[in-house]
Symmetry: C2
Subunit: 447 residues, 2 copies
């Protein structure tokens, strides 16, 4: 690529053209991102036609916009018609209004119609991630006719192996792999050799459920039908990889108390980042008030045995961590379809036993540590350790149960992650702590 | 499936055999899981041969073991040789030693050799996820010879479209899609029509890096070569989906302070769950001691203005949440390849501005709230709110920086997630809090 940059600086365009066809379009796009507006445009316009649409679809929105502004209407028309339709739709969705106008004006009638149709599918639905580049064979075809049809319609039209069979109303009735088609006898009827056992989905299905089906049946592509069961597109597994990445990012964000955002961190504005973070911080800050009230209620206890305050952070942190461990495992299990509401008793029983073991170990170690190293008297150490044990058990059971309950109430389990669990567990931990302190250390409380 | 269950209870095996071939192997496997040992075995043995290996590979380890124990050596041999090699290796890895012996004794010499070779690849390497079912064409072939070869070697041998071209030493020299092969003239030389621009990987490459390449180049399959550049297998995108799920689960676990484990939650033993959780809880509990020491150092401050204790949970929780928001976004950005060490200054500057906005808003609201609702005097409210502001800024900058630093030190960024950030931020928050308190509330400290 350095060689190409040098040639570009010396305007040796013919030589570049020769070199660049050897490169992967993804790498060419990456290279373009580093170039100035003028150089990028210069390079883009000498790309062989069939590569240019490919490179274009891998560019960032900013570069795409620069290029659209710099090329002629006929060049634009070529690129839009040549791109995969779902990529073209992505471009249209991101461009400012005046460029969208120009794009739609310069695309063929059928492309324009399809783009408009795609823009109407709900966000994150199967319709919005599907592609219309697939092979549909008529049920009246013989194997020979099918192959002839595929040859004529262009071999590039689908990178996957599966061909779909439709009836005269475009209803999906079967599928067949291109490989087996090639090796069948030409005179056989398509309907006699096709598979009829097909996993399909509808345009309005949530992409998360589609990903679930891909996982379950180990699929590489899946047909999408409309409300009248007509074949309208296919979803391929490379788009499902993007869906999985996107859904995981969303879960990570929700679990860290951030309102989900699609933007890359480095590209998102400071204001937008702040906006996505402040709501949950505010809610959780105000919830923490309750914990503060518990402390205020027991101010006398703290006044009498001020050393008790020193163990508040340890209790709160350990409780929060213990709870978020459980919540995370359950949330992840639900996301992968391994855990559902009916498992709630199993989870409670399991978390109870795990937390018993973990809580016991931690509180014994803690007891030894504070008696020996912190030189606190055994009575106080006992209260601290007992509180720790109860906190860990409470945290783990609550952390395990809440995500499943959320799922049961049709809420997103990821909301019940460490921040919320921490806030809930904090209040419980301090109530237990001060309760045990008053009782065992014989401190009178003025309530 | 209910119909099949009834037929099974009435021993109408011929009818089941007719019905079950209509079903997807994944669904048959799911159905088998619900059956008793005897019924499952009965059903499995009447499955058509070509379906049985497929169903077997979708069963749980427990069921697989039951079946292996119940079938004859020749049935076992058939299944092992018919399964995809990577699935067979998974079975061997999970079975107890006596069954592994029986499996290896009953597999063909070539399968046995391959299984042993696979068992030697490092865990999570490209070698351990690749498959050996692919089409390799000799570079001396014409297009016609290639098609003849593919037909002879069995069309099932690869569900993907790409065929690989190798030289006499099995070195990978190109690839070509099956579709284009079919439509080229039979007399053309393979080497004249193949693509030479191939993205490949080696057996020892980490699976995470392989997934990265699939994402970057939108691949559906990728050839794997050994240290001598010989083609030894391919990785297909459906296995990459499993890799992505696995890597994400690992990140979720690490970010919740759990030592990573591959087991499904409901299947993992209580003891194993406890073992994976206790180490980090212990480390973090002991780290929280430092925070306790800060409180003990300022015991006099607390004794004089005991209301200060009531705001400790709010400060600690908000600081922890603010820090883990930043850490999560950065960790996710690194995992998706969007952020690297060179972005560290951008991150610091961005987090500083975001935290300034967020911290300002939170502390203003907090000031109003505690003066009006908690009836705390303005001086204390000022100290609390100023501490809150500084804590949020500190937490976000630390939370943003530590994961990148970890990455720079070749550590896993996911370790620098909320639990560790919380512990670090707690200490900072309390130091600031008591520092400001002593200074502005004029409380003498005995150090």
């Amino acid at each position: 690529m350095e060689q190409i940059l040098e040639l570009l600086n010396n305007n040796k365009m013919a030589e570049i053209r020769k070199l660049i066809t050897e490169e992967n379009p993804v790498d060419i796009a990456e290279f373009c991102e580093e170039l100035s507006r003028e150089q990028c445009l210069k390079l883009f316009r000498i790309l062989p036609k069939d590569i240019s649409a490919d490179v274009f679809s891998y560019l960032s929105i900013e570069k795409q916009q620069e290029i659209i502004e710099g090329i002629t209407d006929s060049e634009l028309k070529f690129i839009i018609d040549e791109m995969y339709l779902d990529d073209a739709v992505d471009v249209v969705e991101e461009m400012p209004a005046n460029l969208v106008d120009r794009i739609l004006r310069n695309s063929s009638v059928s492309t324009r119609k399809l783009i408009n149709q795609f823009l109407n599918y709900p966000e994150n639905s199967a319709g919005s991630v599907m592609t219309v580049e697939y092979i549909a064979l008529k049920n009246s075809f013989t194997v020979g006719e099918a192959l002839e049809y595929i040859k004529k319609s262009g071999i590039d039209s689908a990178s996957y192996d599966t061909c779909y069979v439709i009836d005269p109303k475009r209803m999906l009735i079967g599928n067949i792999s291109f490989k087996s088609l090639v090796f069948y006898d030409d005179v056989l009827e398509i309907v006699d050799v096709m598979e009829t056992n097909i996993v399909s989905t509808t345009t309005t299905t949530d992409q998360e459920n589609v990903a679930e089906l891909f996982r379950k049946y180990d699929l590489t592509s899946m047909p999408v039908v409309d409300t009248e069961e007509r074949l309208v597109g296919i979803i391929t597994i490379d788009d499902i990889v993007d869906v999985i990445d996107q859904e995981n990012t969303e879960d990570f964000q929700k679990m860290a108390a951030i309102s989900p955002s699609d933007e890359e961190y480095l590209k998102e504005s400071v204001f937008s980042l702040a906006k996505h973070r402040i709501l949950w911080l505010l809610i959780l800050m105000i919830s923490a008030t309750f914990t503060g009230h518990i402390i205020r209620r027991y101010e006398d206890v703290l006044q009498s045995v001020v050393v008790l305050a020193a163990f508040i952070p340890m209790l709160m942190d350990t409780g929060g961590n213990a709870g978020s461990q459980s919540a995370t495992l359950i949330i992840r299990g639900i996301a992968l379809g391994e855990i559902s509401l009916k498992d709630i008793w199993k989870i409670i029983w399991k978390e109870f036993r795990v937390s018993f073991l973990v809580g016991l170990a931690l509180s014994l170690i803690n007891f030894g540590r504070i008696v020996v190293f912190e030189r606190v008297n055994a009575q106080v150490a006992m209260v601290v350790s007992a509180s720790l044990f109860i906190t860990v058990v409470l945290a783990k059971v609550v952390g395990g149960v809440l995500p499943v309950v959320a799922k049961g109430c049709k809420m997103d389990p990821a909301i019940m992650a460490s921040p919320l669990i921490t806030t809930i567990v904090d209040a419980g931990a301090l109530t237990v702590y001060f309760g045990l302190s008053t009782y065992f250390l014989h401190i009178p409380v003025n309530v």
